[in-house]
């Protein structure tokens, strides 16, 4: 899980071109949107593509988005769960 979260932080920074943000600046449980990292709806689309590109996971139900993309930890948990069920 720790390795996956570290990878995700690097992937998020690269995919979203988060200049001047380092992986260690992103907390495992820090909210990614609004008051946390300050991401917005376009970033949400980028994160969906990130899951597809890097982890081969498609988000089937868009309504699950807010829970899946709440934090790096929730993303990592979702990826782990999906890979277990695959």
């Amino acid at each position: 899980m720790e390795k996956l979260m570290a990878d995700l932080k690097a992937q998020i920074i690269q995919q979203l071109n988060l200049q001047e943000v380092k992986p260690e600046d992103i907390g495992d449980d820090q909210p990614l949107f609004k008051e946390g990292l300050g991401l917005d709806s376009i970033d949400a689309l980028e994160l969906i593509v990130l899951l597809q590109q890097h982890h081969n996971i498609r988000v089937a139900n868009p309504e699950d988005g807010p829970n899946i993309f709440y934090s790096v930890r929730t993303m990592a948990e979702y990826i782990t769960e999906q890979k277990k069920n695959a």
Binding site: Q15, N17, Q19, E20, G38, I42, L45, E46, V49, Q52
Partner: protein, 353 residues
């Protein structure tokens, strides 16, 4: 002779320094003159800057500088021109389209690849919901944006328009345009470009914006007196005749122009047009140039207009801009005559306030 509009503020991002003119001229030895990027973070929030391509940042920066110089925070219209639009992001999007087989395409590059993204981003950052238009007409993009601005001011004379133009070069666009033989085959010093007398020129890029108003006030820096486009004249002689007619329509002759700024770019074939007129009706007149400072690109006349406004405002013509004759001590009227590939000619007449 009725003034068409007053230039209240100007801003440019170019291969030269953004804020200082005439300052020290930046020298290059290259076949490309890239913009000297200012610190864009002074105008754009770090969270927003991450999605912006270079051309958007250039446009936003130039527009902010011009608004600041004009002493206003909100224009009543944003009207701009671009020939190539957001080339870099278009390249990113199309590359992904091909390499990812039209699957899993990210939205950012697509959103940022449309030509009106620059005008849209300027409006978004300002929170400006006013008229917003982008003209994409090749080497007439700036001129059409200015024309629309003048029409807007004719209908709504109390308003202020943010008008300008922006274009960028990328590795892809430079490689493609080089295949047409547009650029020099070997690097050349920009300070020696105009005397090179060989085929081709150097590529350029940049953004320049102007705040235009119908009413003259203490902020007015220069007057945009006249504007005309001429497409595919049959000869240099026809161009000379049309130029003469343009001046006559404003009650002027060549002798009334204190400084002629031509779009001379060091391409021996293209510069021949300018020589015909420089040695004809403008014989003996001082002639300046600008493409050795900013490079050749479809909206380069915006850089010339920015430079000329500074000359009229400061009553100072930098020697680095001079091509022929001595820099005039006082300048009342400047005529910018630019053409691209001998097909798209434009005349921009500016006067001191």
């Amino acid at each position: 002779m009725k003034p068409q509009a007053y230039i209240q503020g100007t801003g440019a991002v170019s291969a030269q320094d953004s804020n200082v003119f005439p300052g020290t001229i930046r020298e290059y030895e290259s076949i490309r003159l890239p913009v000297a990027d200012p610190d864009y973070k002074q105008w754009i929030d770090i969270k927003q800057i991450r999605r912006m391509g270079r051309v958007i940042k250039m446009g936003v920066a130039a527009s902010h500088i011009s608004l600041q110089h004009a002493g206003i925070t909100m224009p009543d219209a944003i009207i701009m021109g671009t020939a190539y639009g957001c080339l870099a992001d278009t390249g990113v999007f199309l590359n992904k389209l091909v390499t990812q087989k039209e699957d899993m395409l990210t939205p950012t590059a697509f959103i940022q690849s449309t030509h009106n993204t620059v005008g849209g981003q300027i409006a978004l950052l300002l929170g400006c919901h006013a008229y917003n238009n982008t003209f994409v007409h090749g080497a007439f993009s700036l001129e059409n944006a200015l024309q629309d601005s003048l029409l807007f001011l004719l209908e709504q004379p109390s308003r202020k328009v943010l008008a300008g133009a922006v274009d960028e070069i990328t590795d892809y666009s430079h490689a493609i345009l080089s295949r047409f033989g547009l650029y020099k085959s070997a690097p050349v010093k920009n300070t020696a470009l105009l005397q090179s007398r060989t085929a081709g020129t150097v590529a350029g890029e940049g953004a320049a914006f102007f705040v235009l108003a119908k009413e003259k006030d203490v902020q007015s820096q220069a007057e945009l007196t006249g504007l005309e486009m001429l497409y595919k004249p049959r000869s240099a002689q026809e161009t000379a005749m049309r130029l003469e007619q343009f001046l006559q329509r404003h009650g002027l002759q060549a002798q009334d122009i204190d400084l002629l700024i031509t779009g001379r770019n060091g391409d021996v074939k293209e510069d021949a047009y300018y020589e015909t007129i420089e040695s004809g009706s403008f014989a003996g007149k001082p002639v300046a140039a600008f493409k050795h400072l900013c490079g050749e690109y479809p909206t380069a006349a915006a850089f010339a207009m920015w430079m000329a406004t500074g000359m009229l405002r400061d009553q100072q013509v930098p020697s680095a801009a001079m091509f022929k004759g001595a820099a005039p001590a006082a300048v009342k009227r400047i005529l910018i005559w630019n053409h691209q590939h001998t097909t798209h000619h434009s005349f921009i007449l500016l006067s001191a306030c």
